[in-house]
Symmetry: C2
Amino acid sequence: MLIDAYGETGAKVLTTAETLFAEYGYAGVSLRRITAEAGVNLAAVNYHYSDKQSLYTEILAYRLRQLSSVRLDRLAEAEARTGGGTVPLAEIVDILAQPFLQPDESILPTFGPASRRLLGRALIEPLGFLAPVLAADFQPAVARCGQALRRHLPALPPADFLWRYSFVVGALHHAAAALHDMKTLTTGLCANEDSAAALRNFRRFAVAALTSDESR
Amino acid sequence: MLIDAYGETGAKVLTTAETLFAEYGYAGVSLRRITAEAGVNLAAVNYHYSDKQSLYTEILAYRLRQLSSVRLDRLAEAEARTGGGTVPLAEIVDILAQPFLQPDESILPTFGPASRRLLGRALIEPLGFLAPVLAADFQPAVARCGQALRRHLPALPPADFLWRYSFVVGALHHAAAALHDMKTLTTGLCANEDSAAALRNFRRFAVAALTSDESR
DNA sequence: ATACGTTTCAAACATCTGTTTACTATGTTG
DNA sequence: CAACATAGTAAACAGATGTTTGAAACGTAT
């Protein structure tokens, strides 16, 4: 169940819609398909969420808030631990990646593969109408992690740092969206949904990419 | 003009469709919008390209073939130059990235920002019906570059190498799709469409990420 | 000039889209 | 029991969708 503040019907719509949106994108899914697959009446979407855009926005905002909340909590805790000092670079990378690729079941119990794919997709091809949601519920946490990273690369020109950081974030989003068919992408050598391997490799990858050749 | 084997009408459809598909995705663009924006009759799409799927597939396949052709040519030339030996890692990265991020005007004169975005988008969220096109016109060149890279990382377990390589490719695709609004993504610090900066930073980024810590 | 293949066009086609309406069921509160 | 808000439903709505049709316009070669 996605958000248990809704009744059975509303919740079934949410989980079904999240899966379908993650798979086929916003424009690629019709309300008739969502409601049919969820086994509820067509009008249920408009009754509970007023319209299609609001349904999509609500799902996405909910997931983004979950992700950002965990990231900001962990970052705040790490900064408190170091007395406002410098959080280790590898830890910042983990704060960015772990809640996305392998969310802690005890903290985000409903954040599954579909949520990951939905976010990966929405973050890569943002629809105009959800720019406010991204600005409010996603970018702040990414920016704060970026600031924490910046302390490790003071000699890097600002623009170069941002390019590098955007590559790291881009690779992460791509990994989140691609995790579900790594098997075909690698002709069977990597397993699907192996989030542990994804996280382990991404950590090494991002740390190496960020720490290299700081001065240039 | 995209493919000059078509008449004026067909060519206008192609360029307009490429731009719109790149911006709004396959399902997000209607044939009426394409034809209206191109200033041609609605039926022109079905007359010249039989249906919407074929139009999209044709555009994408054409761009993928351009990209793969340049990559394979450059790789073959580099391998010939080294006598079948090992092509420098930095050069392989450049072979992957440069035709994508900053294609040579003299070789790919029509491969512009819209083409880049279209590919970045299509590669990130592949629609089912274009899997054959990707398998035929894209993955071979990526796989060959991967093989060339592999020689530089012989100690890395196969799965770890593939993870790392997929992160690099993912970052590249993401960069290709994001290049057009880096300005907003970086609150003005990076310019839009600055493909030179993107390429320069990506080279350093990918080389560092790939060469680090080979043995683990 | 006439015939012919190609291209373009307006109009219609059937289907699918998101959304709204009016109605029924349900469970809760006075 | 009556009143009521909430939840769910079938049917219809207006408009958009991809696609097809049949005729008109065009250029070219006979």
